[in-house]
């Protein structure tokens, strides 16, 4: 199997798997969604809230804020040597205290150590009018996407077969109907020949096949080559998320092997 990054940014990856099978890539996809740990706010103690939003809504909004996750420094709280009471190796504390008139942003969450500072500081949590107050303490811990969506690192993950477009130049009369029909602007007629531009952008909709009266074009997906793309919410980079997912899959298979 070969892996190639077609595009890689901090929070976005588009990956080509070659010489593989859908069930294999799907296992990676599901691990990315459900099994990678990340940090999120789990317990909120509210001391004062005179804003228009209920305590529960504020706690919910806090939970959804992506926090930077240094996996090497943290354990799951349940498995921690402190016995689940909460200690520096399983729990991160934040405080927030603000008085109106203002908008409370995610950047107002003050961590105990600057390395846990919220990455995206511009997420509005609530608006306060004059004399309204919000004072609270929050505890963040590790969790996985299987238990709650706030612990899901990736979003919008999906994969598709690599498109293959075959043009029969003998049958094709260069009428241009397929060029017109293609929603992704993949086809063009250039120097009296029908040619293909960026083939990865093809969505396998087959509109070109339907438009062609001569049966000269055929499109299908190659299930041995798969393009996967996903974003992360910023708690882990796209590359680290993939590495972590592969590590987890590997561990699971090892456990299975031991049982057998």
């Amino acid at each position: 199997m070969k892996i190639k990054f077609l595009e890689l940014k901090d929070n976005y990856a588009k990956i080509l798997f070659e010489d593989t099978k859908p069930y294999f890539v799907n296992a990676i996809r599901r691990t990315l969604i459900a099994d990678i740990p990340k940090l999120a706010i789990e317990t909120v103690t509210i001391y004062d809230n005179t804003s228009a939003l209920f305590d529960e809504i504020i706690a919910h909004r806090l939970g959804l804020i992506p926090l930077p996750t240094h996996l090497d420094l943290l354990n799951f709280r349940k498995e921690c040597s402190c016995g689940g009471k909460g200690c520096p190796s399983c729990t991160v504390h934040y405080t927030l205290s603000k008085e109106g008139e203002c908008i409370v942003y995610s950047g107002d969450l003050r961590p105990e150590d600057p390395m846990w500072a919220v990455v995206d500081k511009n997420i509005p949590i609530v608006k306060l009018l004059k004399n309204q107050r919000l004072i609270l303490e929050a505890e963040a811990e590790l969790g996985i996407g299987k238990n709650h969506a706030k612990w899901q690192v990736v979003c919008g993950i999906g994969y598709k077969y690599h498109p293959v477009i075959e043009i029969d130049a003998e049958k094709c009369n260069l009428c241009g109907a397929c060029v017109e029909a293609c929603p992704r602007d993949i086809l063009e007629i250039k120097r009296k020949k029908l040619s293909i531009k960026k083939i990865e952008n093809c969505i396998l909709c087959k509109s070109c096949m339907e438009a062609c009266k001569k049966d000269a074009i055929e499109v299908w997906g190659d299930e041995n080559r798969i393009i996967m793309q996903y974003e992360t919410d910023g708690s882990l980079t796209a590359k680290d998320a993939l590495k972590e997912a592969l590590k987890i899959l590997h561990k699971k298979y090892e456990e299975l092997e031991k049982i057998l």
Binding site: T50, S51, A52, L53, R61, L64, I65, P66, S106, D120, N122, I123, P124, V126, K127, L128, L129, Q132, A149, Q152, C155, G156, E231, D233, G234
Partner: protein, 73 residues
């Protein structure tokens, strides 16, 4: 009420992008399609969440329901 932090469907963080969207679309009158593309919002679930979030204009400012509700503690 107030912009949801994430897309209901896919979980992408949208609340921080909405500030810029509000300014460019509702005040400066830019085309929503262009602003969404610029902000890197590619999926239609996220685009739906943003364009369907209710706002109204008052005193030349873009207001959300929270601005009205905030008066009642």
């Amino acid at each position: 009420m107030i912009m949801p932090i994430r897309c209901f469907t896919c979980g992408k963080v949208l609340a921080s992008l909405f500030e810029e969207y509000k300014k460019r679309v509702y005040i400066e009158g830019e085309e929503p399609k262009k602003v969404l593309d610029d902000l890197g919002i590619r999926r239609y679930c996220c685009r739906r969440t943003i364009i369907s979030h209710p706002v109204f204009m008052k005193d030349g400012e873009v207001k959300e329901l929270i601005d009205e509700a905030a008066q009642y503690e």
